[in-house]
Symmetry: D3
Subunit: 157 residues, 6 copies
């Protein structure tokens, strides 16, 4: 069984990295799937997000990174994967995670969504928070991997 | 007492149809009220949404369909209606439904909001989900009435 | 279609009365069904609760009061009723109401649960609250019908 | 210890005023801090919002009003304040308030966020609601201070 | 890495069985751990619950069943397991599941809690519901494995 | 204005101590009010709980400890206090805190409830958790003040 960890990663945070590490420990390997999500108006282009994820997982064994712009279930079929990994944070919108998982099961009967908790340090770290802090001149180096810190500084000066 | 089932219906789903059927069974007849909602940037124009609702309820007894672009309470007064019907889905944002119902009561003292549950098959069907799936090339025919399936195919190829 | 408003009513509060009034306005008549609930360790016996409900709705047209000690769905069948009325308070445990409604539908396919909101004055009035206040010597006359105030005073001095 | 009550105030409502009054009673004085929030696409410019807040608190002792366009923690440092006041409404998104408070503590160790409840009359009043009602031609004078009513009428005719 | 699926199982339901099947598919094998929980006043003794679980998983490969009366983390250490499996139902008390998972991590640093969703048929099935229905003379054979149906009939006649 | 921090404290935890410290910093002084709560079947008697609180706050300036067995509003009147302090944890039952605060305001018009957040270390520490861990032979010294650790050891061996 192959595992996919999908997301927009706009940008990847320490919380996402934490989920990736837990996924690798549980399942041996996994594919991080960067959703194109252009309809969501992300701050970074899909290619920028892909590059930041790749730079952030450099050296981690068992982690591959791919981009996709289809339904998640179609990407899973193409990858012959049937486990979806998701992280839960204390303040995460549990109902919305649940709805997504149900939807994926409706569209692909054999898809199993597996949730893990991030570490407490990352319960309150979100991509939105990181973008808000950076845009107001704050320091985000405690919340994101180094490659993201650099990229955000280059944007927000 | 006349009953109104208001919504944006962007587009109407099987869940909405299910609520309409329950409303008719409970109250004998009802008016589906399609909100203009142009400030919400709907995918379909108010007239397109009105036409899809009308095509979807064709043949159902006791159902009328109207468009409105005022406050709901003003539409209710014009229609001499004082019951508002709303559907609750398991993952529905209950607080937001509650706030709307309280608001309607603040603005129109004698307005009663009545909630019914959709059938379990429709707990996870939302207009947003349908639009997301269709925009990524997925099949939505399990989630929406036939006239909507046709319309969405014509848009998303 | 006949309507039943079930509950433990330990004791009946102004919030319950408010729901009864709304139900009568919507459906013309209804049966208040006092659940035996002896496994829940109610403060009042089923007969005391029945008497307090009856005294509280005295003079209201279209309201009958009965006791039941079976599954709600079996009571509904016996009464040839298929609409269950429930009140929603802002702080009500929505998930638990939802679970009960789903359960009733699982056990009786044609049962429709209809939710109405209490008036804002009653959003925070619960039987538990009333019992707690009374047991600590507080005045509950703002929260319960007169027959209940008298009964509670006789118990807690 | 100095207290700051931050917000977008787009526009200020009776609920906000209620929180300000409670804050003054608790802490003697406070600074209302109007966030620039231009990235949130507010209806009113920061200066218009500042003027409406100032007009609404005219005559209240101990209340100062300022505008800020930095991180809240940086504004607090500049003001030598370390208490953040926030209002909780029944339907407020508690998780999002909590996340903001945690974030402020992450970014500024000694910052204390203090929550008070608005009065029940204001549990359901939000800036979004006020804008929606006004945009549909409704009367908002029950929900906002007089200077805001006037301003909104001038906009929505 | 060994996996443990802990619970009180008072009694085991089809929802629990569904989680067990998903766990075996994900992890190859797992140990169902029946908590003594005598402080919670279960309906069935720990031995009765153990026997019902064993009878219900008979023939499933990779499933072992054990009883434990210590802290879960101590049981995990004894079993050399470090993955805890839990099922999430739509109406499950997510905060309480989250708190338990955090607690287990506090008490045992290397313990990973993994959540899976039950199938929609089981979103509303709980041990409490099953006991309530059976105690009122209802039929629970749709909600629990055969050995439990028999046992409950023998108790409630 | 005098401040009261009420609770059952069965037993007092590090989270409670954290709230007390924050309250003293905000308001200069406060009274910890140990509710008799004998109807809730606490593990410790009111006097044991009072003694543990007193031992735990020894040496803290501005903190008084009292026992009360009336309605909280009556205790506040007797103490001439009108501010109630409460701590919010991420997983705390916000609706129940809100209901209590509304109730206190219903019963005593001028009572203001003020909420502060505990430190993240204490988001998941509750009296119930502490009792559960201790009863199963676990070590609770990370979660409660020293006097409580000693007391719990003496009880659970």
């Amino acid at each position: 069984m192959k595992t996919v960890y999908p997301g927009t990663f706009d940008p990847i945070t320490n919380g996402h990295l934490d989920v990736i590490r837990r996924g690798v420990r549980l399942f041996g390997s996994l594919t991080v799937a960067v959703a194109d999500s252009s309809r969501k108006n992300p701050l970074f282009s899909a290619d920028e997000r892909l590059r930041m994820v790749k730079a952030s997982v450099r050296g981690m064994r068992g982690v591959r990174v791919k981009k996709f712009d289809s339904l998640l279930v179609d990407f899973l079929r193409k990858e012959k994967a049937n486990v979806v990994l998701r992280g839960l944070r204390e303040t995460s919108d549990f109902p919305s995670e649940f709805q997504q998982a149900v939807t994926n099961r409706l569209l692909g009967k054999d898809i199993e969504t597996v949730f893990v908790m991030t570490s407490p340090d990352n319960f309150y770290v979100t991509s939105s928070l990181v973008k808000e802090i950076a845009s107001l001149g704050g320091d985000v180096s405690d919340f994101v991997p180094k490659p993201v810190t650099r990229k955000m500084r280059s944007i927000f000066r």
